[in-house]
């Protein structure tokens, strides 16, 4: 499993715009780079990221080889209710990882 670093506020007031910061370990092999033997290494990247808030998608992104290794993504969402925020990264070679965090909204 890839190591992920997720930063989501544990508490917020209803209506606050909160910032979600994510970092996940992944080489993001571009598919354009030759290996030691001169043959191109096959592409191996994360192609998609989604964020759901109590099951509803609030943010998503398609990623391309021009994204840096160990992709870093910061975006915002409105703290609407207490519950679970789930982040999912999927990609080449069956890569799939989900991290969840709970948020208390008062």
């Amino acid at each position: 499993m890839a190591r992920a670093l997720v930063n989501i506020p544990k508490t917020a007031r209803r209506g606050d715009v909160i910032e979600i910061r994510t970092l996940i370990s992944h080489e993001m092999e571009t598919g354009y780079r030759p290996g030691p033997n001169g043959v191109l290494l096959p592409r191996d990247i994360i192609t998609r990221f989604t964020c759901t808030y109590n099951g509803v998608e609030v943010f998503s992104a398609e990623l391309f080889p021009a994204m840096s290794a160990n992709p870093y993504l910061v975006f915002t969402t409105v703290a609407s209710e207490s519950g679970t925020i789930a982040l999912t990264w999927t990609g080449d070679n069956g890569f799939s990882q989900t991290e969840t965090a709970t948020i208390e909204v008062a």
């Binding site: 190591r3 992920a4 670093l5 930063n7 910061r21 970092l23 996940i24 370990s25 080489e27 993001m28 840096s68 290794a69 160990n70 870093y72």
Partner: protein
Amino acid sequence: MRLPGAAALTLLLASPLGAEIRPDERRSDFHQMSPETRAMQTDDTANPGMLAVLDGEALWRAKAGPAGRSCADCHGDARITMRGVAARYPAWNAARGTPVGLAGQIDICRADRQGISAWPAESRERLAVTAYVAHQSRGMPISPPGDPEMAAARERGGRLFTARMGQLDLACAACHDDNWGKRLGGTPIPQAHPVGYPIYRLEWQAVGSLQRRLRNCLSGVRAEPFPYDAPELIELEAFLMQRAAGLPIETPAVRP
């Protein structure tokens, strides 16, 4: 520096080998980086090196070997027991009669306490545990140990630092003592203090050790790099840590 045309003999020739960096001028390469790269290091939620630190924390607690023993079983909470340790390495290992780097000490622990083989040089696991241990010393000044045996190792490292090597016939000191702050191509030459290893280097797109960096430099002057864990690399590290004494540990540092 622009020299007048009359200084014919010295023109085209760079300045001669000078002295060591004055203590009051010593500083981390952190200060030569762009504000963006500095921010990448100082914000733990943006620093990709923290992924290795987190990996290391999990490995610290993982039981391994025939005895099913973890690092934590002997050392307890690394945040307390490992604080300041990285600032004192490389250290003299009396039992083996040799200076040992932090990663080398982890190898020894695995062999002697866990009964398992060392992780390969530059493996994810070895870098992760080293980064986790070194991270516990973040902010603490580099404090090399005073053993006389280490003094001898440092002296050998210092001789390597000032020895010309490779097809380009350059010594480490030619750049990092005598010309730091100037530009090699587009890149400012750092003073080269090993304050933040293992570092996340943007060029590598990964975390790596000081030994990897030293081997890069040797390749750069077209010299044959010393193999990983060669005594020469440990001695160079011991010399560099003495040269950087007093500067705070930054692990995991980010560098371009």
